[in-house]
Symmetry: D2
């Protein structure tokens, strides 16, 4: 993969400019040449099933979209608009989460990136992919 155009600090700061990202409690944990890791701190509003405490699939789709976008941002110098996303749900999710994301393809007009969501026991709970508009 190509070199990063953003430092860890710049990427983290950029990520937290969005009010929704702050509400989600996102924290950039790692940036390397291959991609990023983002922590998502559980909050009770995330819950879809109050008895079991499962996190809503919409939260999982959201953090996949964000992590994939910021894996691209590291390479492009800025986050870029999402064209579409696809998300597969593998297991019910509970508690804090870790999202790992990486670019698949960097193009002048369109980029593709993918991400996986893991729970605290390192089980894969969801995974997905987005296509992003990298043209002006």
């Amino acid at each position: 993969m190509s070199e990063n155009k953003m430092t860890f600090e710049a990427l983290h700061e950029r990520m937290l400019k969005a009010p929704f990202h702050r509400w989600l409690g996102l924290e950039l944990k790692e940036l390397n040449d291959d991609g990023i890791k983002v922590a998502v701190k559980w909050r009770e509003e995330f819950v879809v099933n109050a008895e079991r405490g499962y996190t809503h699939g919409g939260i999982l789709a959201t953090v996949i979209d964000i992590a994939a976008d910021y894996a691209l941002a590291a390479k492009l110098g800025r986050p870029v608009p999402t064209i579409d996303i696809r998300v597969d749900y593998h297991r019910p999710a509970k508690g804090n989460l870790i999202v790992e994301a990486r670019p698949i393809r960097l193009g002048a007009a369109f980029c593709t990136a993918e991400a996986e969501v893991y729970d605290e026991s390192e089980k894969l709970v969801a995974s997905g992919r987005g296509v992003y508009a990298s043209g002006n």
Copy 2:
């Protein structure tokens, strides 16, 4: 399409059992034989771009998933787990939203449903589809 197994009141009440659905400010507006309409009340935490006030794509993906699921719930008698979703983003979204959803296919093991998100000027801002596990 087959008959509805849930009344408007039962579907609305079921939808609001989920803490995340209450945080999203969802309101069932219509239930007919073809599908449902759900209103989403804007809140400032939804915002991705503070200067322009755009709603985050994760919120749009979430309400597509929920509306598609509850369009199936009306036919099946209960919401069912999402297997996967696909979302296309068409335009930046602002303010309150309306989501329209309908079943595409009702199966014993798997169901498909789709949804569109409109803003207050009735512009299509996003659309998508989910596959849901209707088996036990």
Copy 3:
């Protein structure tokens, strides 16, 4: 939707320039302001299950991609490269097929279109959607 930029004859002729489209036996049946209809003539190489005579899902994905692309071509004046497709399989498919397709969104950089595949008894066998690169 906007006006068509290609006549029925021009669109049909353009569609049959591709060797794979000719092998598939495609025939443009209808072009109107909302979209197109394409007929697919069954051939025995399509079959995945020799005992039951079911058509392969790859053929269904292919004709969804083509019909969605040519529904856009009618509006844009030319077919455009596919960025991604998503296909849902609803029922086993047999025999000749009809594909209906229409644009969802026409944009300067990318366009979205969707299509459904029906069998000869007018049952929906598959449906899907593609995103296409309409920029230069």
Copy 4:
């Protein structure tokens, strides 16, 4: 990942039972614990753009679906029906192709698998994922 339930020979033989797979010229090249590799021999009917010799995206979607399905078949003992597929196109494809596929999640009711398509210069030309019905 779990153990394979099919040998290389049994999987290859099963793959070639489908008339469409034979037409595609598929050849199983590798089966290990993580997944499979399948070779696709170019034929002139694959072509979408006669001047440039590009292979049709429908062929790429097809071989992604098949390779993902047979990566699951190795674990399950049989190929299983596709529920949906998602395919991203990264570069124009020419000539013979190699498809690599692996299971993402094995479940009692549904399974997820992914695949990538490479050309002879080992460039990634397309990638995608399918969800498959593993219940009876």
